[in-house]
């Protein structure tokens, strides 16, 4: 009985079962009915945020896996995972986990194409989907930042990607702005329900952990004539004593009043 109470109601499934079984009126009468008291225990609001624990599971898996590579130290000091690989490890682990937990119909993740990454800024976009349209209700555009040393080591290695024609066209299209600015522009053009999350795979003073700065209000800095660059984003950590957890971040987002600004720092590992 307790199980029956706690099971979320799925109208689609209910319809299916009615169509399939077509029970006679006798059978219907004989079917056990939930106790009148069970309705008292049923949550009043449907679980729109029930993806949050699942999201946390996915993040935990992705962060742990990424940390393995982030903390790897070659005894001969010749070999390390590239920035691109670290980003891919995080994203691939997250996606695998979210698919296996069957949460993508409520909260999905769209990896950007290399061209989109250049044009728009994010590496991927998380979206909380509206039912039944599956249109995004809230979006989090994520741009990964790596340790400066790791990025500098790769600057001289021109990847194959950089040589393709479409990449060069994308670079030409967006040459007048930095990747941080494009990211902020992207989120601002969508609105307050689109957050920019700068995800640091390692910080200068803590190279083995994953942190993030999330805001739907970075554009305010443009009004104050601040340049949006890495230093500007890192500066948020200096002024903050509290670090949110990933589910805490998500809870803050979903409970925020429409149109309000929200800026917070997060520790992902």
């Amino acid at each position: 009985m307790g199980q029956t109470i706690s099971k979320p109601t799925n109208p689609q499934n209910s319809n299916l079962s009615l169509k399939r079984s077509s029970p006679s009126s006798n059978e219907q009468n004989m079917a056990p009915r939930p106790s009148i008291f069970s309705t008292l225990r049923r949550p009043l609001i449907t679980k729109t945020n029930d993806f949050i624990p699942l999201f946390n599971d996915c993040i935990s898996a992705a962060a742990s896996r990424t940390q393995e590579y982030l903390l790897f130290k070659d005894p001969e000091d010749k070999f390390q995972a590239s920035s691109e690989v670290l980003t891919q490890v995080f994203l691939m682990t997250y996606i695998s986990q979210s698919v296996s937990l069957n949460m993508t119909d409520r909260f999905n993740c769209t990896a950007m194409t290399p061209e989109q990454r250049i044009l728009l800024g994010p590496d991927w976009v998380w979206a909380m989907l509206e039912k039944p349209t599956k249109n995004p209700r809230i979006q989090i555009a994520v741009q990964v930042l790596h340790l400066p040393g790791r990025e500098a080591a790769e600057e001289n290695n021109i990847s194959q990607e950089a040589c393709t024609e479409s990449i060069q066209i994308a670079q030409k299209e967006s040459s007048n702005k930095t990747t941080y600015e494009r990211m902020v522009d992207f989120c601002t053009s969508i609105g307050k329900d689109c957050y920019a999350l700068f995800l640091f795979l390692g910080k200068k003073n803590d190279k083995g952990n994953i942190y993030g700065v999330l805001s739907n209000n970075f554009e305010a800095a443009i009004g104050k004539c601040n340049k949006i660059d890495r230093a500007f984003i890192e500066n948020f950590f200096k002024g903050s004593r509290y670090l949110h957890t990933p589910p805490g971040m998500m809870q803050a987002i979903v409970t925020k009043k429409e149109g309000d600004s929200l800026t917070l720092m997060v520790k992902f590992s």
Binding site: Q116, L120, P136, K172, F186, C194
Partner: protein
């Protein structure tokens, strides 16, 4: 100098310019627009990569692919921009209308709402693009005949009213995909040649041969599926 004159003078970039494969005679910027889930991305994938997947992934913002076509021994590079149909991306997508020479305005023949929105999309083109941009109206998913809610006649009629060319297409079954792009390229070339004829001053630096020397291919707009 109008758009086409300007383009003819600046896009003859064989062996010069910057970035990418510069070995082309013309570069045309095309956009695919229309409501969400009408099949814009699938249409582009079919044309550029000859691929199709039924899995629906909503486009975030904007994306593009490059494809080179040949017309009368001229290499025409197509920069084809795939736009997100959802309203929340409208600020981003309309920013890319500027400088577009052709549009494929797409609706879904199984979705009345997407057909009803064609007029609004047409207004968007007029608002954010050049006056001379060429438009082809495409009624996609014509493989789904049993679920059709927009007749071919209604599609054709609306195209006539708006002054657009019309095709019914299927990215899934590869029906009229190539033809739609080819027709749009023809229309742009025609317009370009007209502009050069009416204003000889713009021929400085322009190609030596007209792109419309040969007769345009016979148009077949109905769905063959």
């Amino acid at each position: 100098m109008d758009l086409y004159g300007k383009m003819a003078a600046t896009q003859d970039a064989k062996g010069k310019g910057e970035g990418g494969d510069q070995n082309f005679d013309y570069m045309f910027k095309l956009l695919i627009i229309g409501n969400s889930s009408v099949g814009k991305t699938s249409f582009l994938f079919r044309y550029a990569d000859d691929a199709f997947t039924s899995a629906f992934v909503s486009t975030v913002g904007i994306d593009f692919k490059v494809k080179t076509v040949y017309k009368n021994d001229k290499r025409i590079k197509l920069q084809i921009w795939d736009t997100a149909g959802q309203e929340r991306y409208r600020t981003i997508t309309t920013a890319y209308y500027r400088g577009a020479m052709g549009f494929i305005l797409m609706y879904d023949i199984t979705n009345e709402e997407s057909f009803g929105a064609v007029q609004d999309w047409s207004t968007q083109i007029k608002t954010y693009s050049w006056d001379n941009a060429q438009v082809v109206l495409a009624g996609n998913k014509c493989d789904m005949e049993e679920e059709r809610v927009v007749s071919v006649d209604n599609g054709r009629l609306l195209a006539e009213q708006l002054g657009f060319e019309f095709f019914e297409t299927s990215a899934k079954d590869n029906v009229n995909v190539k033809q739609t792009f080819e027709r749009l390229v023809d229309l742009i070339c025609d317009k370009m040649s007209d502009s050069l004829d009416s204003d000889p001053a713009v021929t400085t630096g322009a190609p030596t041969a007209k792109l419309t020397d040969s007769a345009p291919p016979l148009q077949q707009s109905g769905c063959n599926c």
